[in-house]
């Protein structure tokens, strides 16, 4: 699904530059659920951004589902993001003046799908996250957990190959976090490949594999026994 070789990335800070990623090698197979851990500044978010084509590496190879991702034009990157990737953010990043249904339908709009079709599909995904009755509410009328579920429905709407989650539970309380994680585990059970950036051990343990970053290199990469949320709660 995903292959990364010798990935380097640095950011200019004034005259000098900050070397954030110092040669990352990572391979993720279909159907995996990987937690990327590390303290702040370890480069975990940068790595996720590069995988999400929101940022570009300085050097190294990145192959997504057999496609080399390099020197993309903005337009091409937009198409790839739309087709291959679903994003879940810590702060949900819903568009505040659009209701839940419209938010979920947005990636489908950029796919060029007809209005009626995309509303049906968006409704279906909202149903999957259990928010059918909240379809016409604005984000501010929903709780944090509900908002994150809308965001997950949006990430799923375009049927992406890879789901990228950046601290998906960072803004949620414990109970809601577990609820969301349970849902993400279900998605993984259905075969979705999922990458989660987190700094919380318990969240990481709910994945099948943990990759630990420190100072821009991978310190540890191990498979773990997944903690099922349903048993835990």
């Amino acid at each position: 699904m995903l292959e990364i070789h010798q990935l380097h990335k640095s950011y200019p800070i004034g005259d000098s530059s900050l070397h954030v990623l110092k040669g990352i090698d990572l391979t993720v197979e279909d159907g995996e659920m990987v937690a990327i851990m590390g303290s702040s500044g370890s480069g975990k978010s940068t790595l996720l951004n590069i995988i999400g084509m929101l940022d570009e590496a300085d050097s190294g190879d990145y192959i997504l589902d057999g496609l080399p991702i390099k020197n993309l034009t903005e337009k091409k990157a937009a198409v790839y993001r739309n087709k291959f990737l679903g994003f879940i953010f810590q702060s949900f990043n819903l568009i505040n003046y659009k209701n839940a249904l419209e938010n979920v339908a947005l990636p489908l709009y950029y796919q060029g799908m007809k209005r009626k079709e995309r509303q049906e599909l968006a409704m279906f995904h909202l149903g999957k996250v259990g928010l059918t009755n909240w379809a016409h509410h604005l984000p501010k009328e929903l709780s944090g957990g509900q908002n994150q579920r809308v965001a997950i429905a949006r990430a799923l709407a375009a049927n992406p190959k890879l789901l990228l989650a950046d601290e998906p539970t960072g803004a949620l309380d414990m109970a809601t976090s577990y609820e969301i994680m349970e849902f993400i585990q279900q998605l993984n059970d259905e075969g979705k490949t999922i990458l989660i950036v987190t700094h919380e051990e318990d969240i990481a343990n709910m994945c099948k594999r943990i990759v630990r970053l420190r100072d821009g290199v991978i310190m540890e990469d191990k498979k773990v026994n997944q903690v099922r949320v349903s048993q835990n709660v």
Binding site: L54, E74, R81, N82, K83, Q90, I95, P107, Y110
Partner: protein
Amino acid sequence: MFDLDLWREIFQSINKNRTRSLLSGFTVAFAILLFAILFGIANGLQNTFKEAFGTDANNSIVIFPGRTTKAYKGLQVGRQIQFKNDDRAYILDEFGDKVQYITSKVNKSVSASFKGEKNNYEVRGVYPEYMFIENNIIKDGRYINQNDLNNKTKVVVIGRVVEDYLFFKENAIGKYINLSGIQYKVVGVFTDDEGDREESVIYMPITTTQFVYGNNDFVDLIHLTYNPEMNSDQALNFGTSLTKRLKERFSVASSDQRAIRVQNMAQGTKAVGQMTTGLTFIILIIGFGTLIAGVVGVSNIMIFIVKERTKEIGIRKALGASPKSIVSIILMESILITAIAGYVGLLAGVGVLKLVGPSLKEYFIKDPSVSSGLVIGATITLVLAGAIAGYLPAKKASQIKPIVALRND
């Protein structure tokens, strides 16, 4: 080009941010309002000038004979120049293509009476073309025609004031009027919007006047209009060469200012034309300045909008929005706001002109209005202005990097 979904997005965005859209629209609406009012006032001033020059054809040239003030070619000073019928023919021969209408004129003063009513009036012996030179309007009957001219018929066309006074609102057509002892048949009544003085005149075929008063072919003055296709410079040149040729014809020194005088309206027309052009130019500059201020205002607010929507644009990009779709959404929003606001401003401007227009007459502003051509032009300008105002912000928006936009705050 027409994409219903895009428009839906734009309307949603405008609708959800009404205050913001209203604010940006306000500048443009105000700019256009001012522009429309200024333009209307300029038009009103022009109308006043036009009216001040009356409805006499403003391309007319009048030639008066006088006495010579200089001895020339052995002829004495103080010789009276006398125009005759063939001078009209001479001008037509020499300058035929530059002349629109031409008439010779004989002026007499008469005492007119009808059934005991009596008054003194001016009689003008003229050619039928004179009607077009004076811009007279026939109220009843007809004007003098070629037949009258050929047969020296004793017919007259009287002004409205003459009819009112002598005929007591009785229909004058077909009645006989006594002018200094001779009976003439009234064949027409005319009006002239230059006022009572011009309507207290009696017209007669020039041949009749010449026959009755002295049986000669003397002419008091020649009145003509030049070809309206000539511009004012050409008309001035025509006037100069006409003067020169007539002076040669009557053996008058070219420096003699009194013997033959040529009054050319083109001089006034040119001055007024220059003044109106100047005025229009100033108004256009002011109007454009206001419009530019409006555009800058919208541009400013659009930049602010882009800044405010950075996160939203980042989200859209992360979800697969192409730079083009970001540009079009911002650009279209800008165009839409500018066009609608501008149109509202324009309508308001036209409304204000309609409302206060009539009361401005005493300030030399008559019928201030905006032409439909200007409205169309302004609409196109507005769409362009909106595009210009939105372009930079839109470009900026399309360059937003999603990671920057989505960085957790």
